[in-house]
Symmetry: C2
Subunit: 396 residues, 2 copies
Amino acid sequence: MNSTVVTGIGELVTCDGTDPDLLGIRSNAALVVEDGMIGWIGLAADAPAADTRIDVAGRVIIPGFVDSHSHLVFAGDRSAEFVARMTGQPYDGGGIGVTVASTRTATDDELARLLGSRIDEMRALGTTTVEIKSGYGLTVADEARALQIARQFSTETTFLGAHVIPAEYLHDRPGYVDLVTGPMLQAAAPYARWIDVFCEPHSPHAFGADEARQILKAGAAAGLGLRVHANQLGPGPGVQLAVELGAASVDHCTYLEDADVDALAAAAETTVATLLPGVEFCTRSPYSDAARLLAAGVSLALATDCNPGTCYSSSMPWVISLAVREMGFTPAQALFAATAGSAKSLRRTDIGRLVPGNRADLTVLDAPSYLHLAYRPGVPIARALSLTAAAEMLAE
Amino acid sequence: MNSTVVTGIGELVTCDGTDPDLLGIRSNAALVVEDGMIGWIGLAADAPAADTRIDVAGRVIIPGFVDSHSHLVFAGDRSAEFVARMTGQPYDGGGIGVTVASTRTATDDELARLLGSRIDEMRALGTTTVEIKSGYGLTVADEARALQIARQFSTETTFLGAHVIPAEYLHDRPGYVDLVTGPMLQAAAPYARWIDVFCEPHSPHAFGADEARQILKAGAAAGLGLRVHANQLGPGPGVQLAVELGAASVDHCTYLEDADVDALAAAAETTVATLLPGVEFCTRSPYSDAARLLAAGVSLALATDCNPGTCYSSSMPWVISLAVREMGFTPAQALFAATAGSAKSLRRTDIGRLVPGNRADLTVLDAPSYLHLAYRPGVPIARALSLTAAAEMLAE
């Protein structure tokens, strides 16, 4: 067994409680990592001996960010669409087809290389777990291929054959739902932990409530957990459908009616509302009202939604800064949502919190306090701590 | 003479014109650096021989960002004030006194170390020129000291004794103006290129129009160029005063009346309006309307205003992304304002544009197009290119 003691921690943020206002911050703390797991946390003065020692020189240690919503398996560039949107063109989901075309023609190696470089970028910004959706293949073979590639990088893979209705099925929606719930699900399920649907009556490209219910139920029957894209472009049935079906996460939640908030609050143990402020930034949408959701007792997560159309950012610190500026999160609530909250949305208890027995997914901040995640927007102060490389990096 | 040829440039953004909509983009280009200056730009196929060769592997090269407004000489932490403001407390300039107290008690070495690390952070984010203001000393000795330290890192130093009225002069404003225009100016001028005033009748801590005029005229008489903090907290006389006195830059411009816009448009050759969207983000202020200013023909710059109170960000890419999302800049206009525009606000023609004879201050983007500065918010895709370190860095 290989053990490492981490000392010199200016502030240890454990997120070891259940109250998003409390981060379980410890001073004068040290922790011991044993074979990738947290073996011990306590006062530095009491730290046991270990094979190696890393001194982080007063920096902050937080749980690695859990980015619980991303679409990283893609090829092609949509910066021109972004520019058009910044000059007033609205988003309706139609641009997804552009990425589908590029992704279908890319080789496996190219997709794996692109995905790997995006995950490296995320780690360099402090993310240690990332959920990865398919959804730019939209054929049986291309969806299975995307998930096989994603599975090389993450266990949190999500089958999103129901991302949009592909162009070739626009006049046969029931035919596409049959494909998604039949052969495509069968081919995808071995490589997926989750199933997801873009439930959005406001987009002709997305799925209505009945279609979404049918797809999610088929996924559950195949043993997959449920996630839903809902209420992104306007009020709709998605949030209540997600709660009704016991989904682990309902994502976007930009437009919520009181009944949606009530349903989310009542389901707080089961269903997490995952907010995606980067999308609202990049699509000029109104921001979700996190303060309202927190007051109601809703469980919240924050994620990037990193994707080439509506938010090509991999930065959880930037998401946190936006959540504080625009959504009514306090810095503590935002960090909790980006770690323990997003872990809960993946039904994981071994990540997102630094407690003995959990994975030692540590992120280090070049700052005296976690407050700097919001206080220093756009500055890359966070990075995932590689224990093997750490001594060298921190000596710089 | 040492020469380096830079090849493999995916997109060379020169900003070599005067129209902010046109970036002077060249394809298949190479450039030669001779002793830190640009010696040649042309088609890669025609590149002359050089001592060394750097291949940037398809990346974008842009002029290094010119961050024409910063307050980097300070000690202490104001993250708690930031959190208070995010939960509703308004900004009135009063927090500056907290930093004044911390800065006065810091040693020269500590201030130089802190300043150096902030400039390193900026270079790592693509900035190659930074203007640095004093203004956290507010005594004769402390202001001179701040400028002496700043001068070790930049030629663009600005005497800002008139940042706020220090607590000890709150009941003797004329006495403080006499100090600033007398002994403090005399002590500061040898280390400063510019003088600046926080002209803001909406803050009891800042200076009114008559006070500001007196201070700026004294600075001009001492040979300093003029800059003004104006119209940040509400409409006021600052913009028109800056134009009247021929200031090189008038900064913030958050609240403008039609007469202010007209004055800035008429003075476009002389006076640049420097917009600071990061401040508006971090103080929950409305954003300046850049589209209105561009339509009127006003010369614009973008800068961070990096400081511990109202915007502790050193990231020009983040500023560009905000300018596009919130102020009505196109990505091209924002990049022009952050390079050629901010160089103009410093009355410099040797930086901010990549043309033969100019400084070879190159910034490289890990992206296929400059559009990614806005398209990838929060992602550190830009870095200043160190020619000596480049071969190693780019090989990674």
